[in-house]
Symmetry: C2
Subunit: 147 residues, 2 copies
DNA sequence: TATTGTTATACTCTATAACTATA
DNA sequence: TATAGTTATAGAGTATAACAATA
């Protein structure tokens, strides 16, 4: 396989470009699946909560890499929209635990369906092994950086 | 090597997370290198112009995957700041050709220095081959999608 | 004292559409 | 008629700091 340039600046630009490709394909289809006007970040927030069942806000904030104030406001908006509920943790009164409602889970499913088509399309030219390798390296970089 | 999950939704979330890690490390150091207050997108714009020498706006817009109106305004701001110049193409009066000034090139160098440290740090745990493979797959995905 | 989450604020980024000018 | 780039505008995303409540 031809080797790619590991020049760090180009690598950073290319990671951004890939993310933008995904957004650029999601955007025009928003009317079809974004029934609650959650937006791109909101979608990722719901996806992240859905992945984990019942989570505290701090974990979601860490997973998304955004500021807690930003996530806090999104959560309030989504609570008002009936996409999620929260309850105070029984063991720590400072902590709110989030769960998706039926409506929230439905929204997550619509997003996943569209995202699957888009991502599969983008990675179409890769073999199964190459996809697995790319995904594995990505996971390792993220995990190692967490420590 | 352990295989990564190729579940498309997780892949998309992870690509976003990686981009956010880079931004999160750049942000607090902005005062040290962002002397002209160009911001993250502005930095990528300058990097993209620097990569190519003399470019028309449309190429830059395509490379960054943003809307042309957004890039148009940034370019005007940077022209006023003396970071770049533009001249009308001799062969097509509609086209503006962009070039960095000395000040713009210096700004690009500062950004590259910081970005190199951050990206190298993130990919630290990978072997040279793994880095090259990751970069190559990324380039292929972006290229194949262009057609 | 430290941590969880909220509020306020200022700024940057994004999408859309309507526009001017050149081709 | 089509393309390159601009302007206007509304909305979404971001960082920071100061804050209240709980630990």
């Amino acid at each position: 396989m031809k080797k790619g340039s590991t020049e760090p600046t180009l690598l950073a630009l290319n990671i951004d470009r890939l993310m933008r490709r995904i957004h650029a394909e999601l955007q025009p289809r928003a009317a079809d699946f974004d029934h609650h006007q959650v937006g791109p970040l909101g979608g990722m927030l719901l996806l992240t909560i859905g992945e984990r069942g019942s989570v505290d806000i701090q974990s979601v904030v860490a997973a998304l890499g955004r500021d807690k104030s930003q996530i806090s406001r999104l959560i309030q908006r989504f609570e008002r929209k009936g996409l999620l509920t929260r309850e105070t943790s029984p063991t720590d009164g400072r902590v709110s635990l989030l769960s998706l409602t039926k409506s929230g889970r439905d929204q997550v499913e619509s997003i996943k369906d569209v995202l699957t088509v888009i991502v599969d399309g983008l990675f179409n030219g890769l073999s199964r092994d190459e996809k697995a390798m790319f995904a594995a390296i990505l996971e390792r970089v993220l995990m190692e950086d967490e420590r």
